[in-house]
Symmetry: C3
Subunit: 363 residues, 3 copies
């Protein structure tokens, strides 16, 4: 199964070899981010954003135009068809008549899978609630790989709120696949979910916990910071204490390795002090810029405009109906789109998971 015409809903929709193939193309695309190719001339991208996201939308639209393609853009889809009660399935079946590839962002978990199931053109998930945002993960990996030459053996400190947030959960799983070593540093109560740590460890990944970034800053290759949100804390004092402890400042960075990399999915609030912006190790704006070549590679490959051959396309398990089982996730698309039938994957010992939001099912 080639990469042409493929959907990208989850980072698990791509094999390691396919990710490598996309990165090889993205390496080439680095040379064309300030000019325009013509490989996608005559191809049309539709962006359907049910939540605002300047960053992600603009980087997809820039990528498509750097490839010579065109864009039709719906920056605020929530205000239009959906206001008239249209379902995701209907919207994408209309838009597939207009465009050659659809990029969708939607607040419901599993919504991008529904879009992919119904659309006759490839669908790329640009964020479906707390579920997945696979192109962010691709960009994170790409930036690390470019700076470090590879991901295997690279030691990454993940800092901040590791309990919530799809970005960091997708990233640890992707790092594990490529042999990265992970150290999790989070305030009490915001730790990486134990089940996730256990499961990765069981699969042989190197994933450990630490109490303070302060102690290990000299021993890591990458510091991946994430937002710590005020509303996660019971008191203002507690928030303030954590905020200070997890802030990456010039002072802290002075003890980091010379070739360390500070990354952040942006937008930041307060986790990265402004005084590190000029430090050459502060790579978060480069990381944002890398969104263009990575998305150029992805669009080019999916549209069949650029050749890339990766092996071992993952076989998605066939979802099935299971009597007496339901998805209990209120933010799952299944609870909101009436034409969908609850379907699940897993069983035979493995937990049953909703085929859309991938959360464990309720019985």
């Amino acid at each position: 199964m080639a990469l042409t015409d493929r959907d990208l809903v989850s980072i698990r929709d791509l094999s390691d070899s396919e990710i490598e193939a996309i990165f090889t193309v993205a390496d080439d695309m680095m040379r064309y981010t300030r000019t325009a190719l013509t490989v996608c001339a005559g191809r049309l991208l539709a962006t359907l954003f049910y939540e605002p996201s300047t960053r992600t939308r603009l980087s997809f639209e820039a990528a498509m135009q750097r490839l010579g393609g065109d864009v039709i853009s719906c920056a605020d889809a929530k205000m239009s068809s959906v206001a008239k009660g249209e379902t995701i399935a209907d919207t994408v079946r209309v838009v597939e008549g207009y465009a050659d590839v659809i990029v969708i962002r939607h607040p419901l978990e599993g919504s991008a899978r529904v879009a992919a199931d119904y659309a006759g053109v490839p669908v790329i998930n640009a964020g479906d609630g707390a579920h997945e945002h696979p192109t962010q993960t691709l960009v994170d990996l790409f930036t690390i790989r470019r700076a470090k030459g590879a991901i295997r053996g690279v030691r990454v400190a993940l800092c901040g709120d590791l309990k919530h947030g799809r970005t960091v959960h997708s990233l640890v799983q992707a790092l594990a696949r490529f042999g990265g070593e992970m150290v999790c540093v989070s305030p009490p109560g915001l730790e990486m979910p134990p089940a996730m740590v256990e499961s990765l460890s069981a699969e042989g990944a190197s994933i450990t916990q630490a109490n303070s970034l302060d102690d290990l800053i000299g021993d890591v290759d990458v510091i991946y910071a994430t937002r710590v949100q005020r509303e996660r804390f019971e008191s203002e004092e507690e928030y303030e204490r954590v905020r200070q402890a997890f802030r990456i400042t010039a002072d802290l960075l002075s003890r980091a390795r010379r070739d360390a990399l500070v990354l952040h999915p942006l937008p930041r609030v307060d986790e990265l002090a402004y005084d590190i912006d000029d430090d050459p190790r502060a790579a978060y704006f480069q990381q944002a810029a890398d969104g263009v070549p990575v998305r150029m590679a992805l669009l080019g490959v999916i549209l069949g405009a650029v050749e890339a051959s990766g092996a071992g396309a993952p076989q998605r398990p066939e979802p099935r109906e299971v009597a007496g089982v339901r998805c209990g996730n209120e933010r799952c698309v299944i609870a909101h789109e009436p034409y969908l039938t609850p379907r699940f994957t897993g069983g035979d010992g493995a937990p049953l998971r909703c085929a859309y939001c991938e959360r464990e099912a309720s019985t």
Copy 2:
């Protein structure tokens, strides 16, 4: 009068021969909906949407880009100039300096006529309140004509709320012009306006009424379903009863002709059961997709980029002021744009109609 540089405010702005000429071009355009021509290279379309409409806006923008042209887009015009109190006449006289053709959607009836009167570039009406949405009508006709080879003699069941809604009113008049045969099926109280039926019959059109789709489903070539809105009913029970009776289900469709066509202007709410979507007779997504070649043809022809010659361009009657007569329609543009002079067409026996919203005038 050629089609180049023409406005399209009402479907009556085009002669039958001109519509045929556009469809001939649209047939050709079907081959180019997944690539890009260059016939409109260097031409610019402005979309001015004072009401959200993803579907219509995106299909125009896709069409223009498939022709090789470019787009400047205002998806939410209401929030910008108009918020500063700018009139339609001023807005289009500014935008004509930027673009080569303007597509406008505006909630006031007659607004597109005002835009066309003032703009120095062609204006296409993408919906002016309850008045007209001529490109939707063109697409409806085109889809029927492509599937059936012609419109003459094709028997079309129009189902649902036939009292309200410009889509179906425009369609019956257009079908009548091309010799289609119409059967109107609607719940009590939502019938096609009797004056419209009488007037079409008087002109020789075949238009009849039926009580139930159930009885005639085996005898029609096209089933054109429209939305039945809850707010039209006094009680929930009455709504529920009608909803069930007018719903097109797999069961109902099993008795339709093998080559029947189910159409719907979309978005649907509940009138089309999801279980018919995979039936080859369910053509509403094809109908949506046909919006691209039809709008490509229209833009190409209006911009003079594609040759098409239709005969008999309709002569619009010269509107005139009539003492003591006014347009009583509160949703008419005349009631909202201060620089306009009330003008009317008709008289000499025929009813006087507002030159903008085309409703009968009050005296």
Copy 3:
């Protein structure tokens, strides 16, 4: 210092010679406003609008596409990143990774300077609150220069509210630079700020005041009208009286010179009667249309796609911190973006001014 890669935050960022060079290119561009050049093929413009402005945004986007370039557009930036608390500095450092030039409109005074300071690509100010809107000033000058052959010696009546409004303040300073003669006509209480008149006179500019447009209409080459806003008046009667006195009507215009020019930055409310629209001297829609060739010239020159050499690029004074001095302007960007350090220009006799909003500092 060439024009390539330059920011345009204030009209004072350009020397007279550079403005002339841009106008020479704009003269050429007049021939290409209905076609597309390819000089900017492969270049990408990002428009970041934190306030809606159809007119300005669309004219920049039209200009870029007429040059053969592409656009990524954020028509409502306020609703996206900023809603997540992102700073201007961070947003532009992300967007510089996507686009080759950024056009920004933001309600805070000095915001465009911050964008220019942080972005690695050229930034054009499309309006930063009450501070500057330099491309409007360029367009105003260009329209006068084209109609009159030059600006030197052209007598311009500035009418309406001359106290508030960046448009007219920027324009008088620019006219003074090019030797225009100005007559200010405003209602009591809405006069041009005396300090501004004195300062321009001291520099040798010809700037006088008059009580009524009625008396001087036959003696001026250009009538530049601006909006008089109801909220500036204490009573409805006072507003009504002024409104009538400052309205340009066909009757008033009948006494103007045959080759006079009526200009207005648009949108108008009531200052220009609709009955003058067809008068050939009514040039405000031409003025709006001139926005395209002027912005084409500017984008082409800044992107290095079109050659233009102007001499004497202004040296912006180096801003510095001054102990005990602060910017008291609540609408200044310094009061809202936490990473900025208050900096000032001036001193040594000249008043200290905030380096961002350019208002006089408080001590």
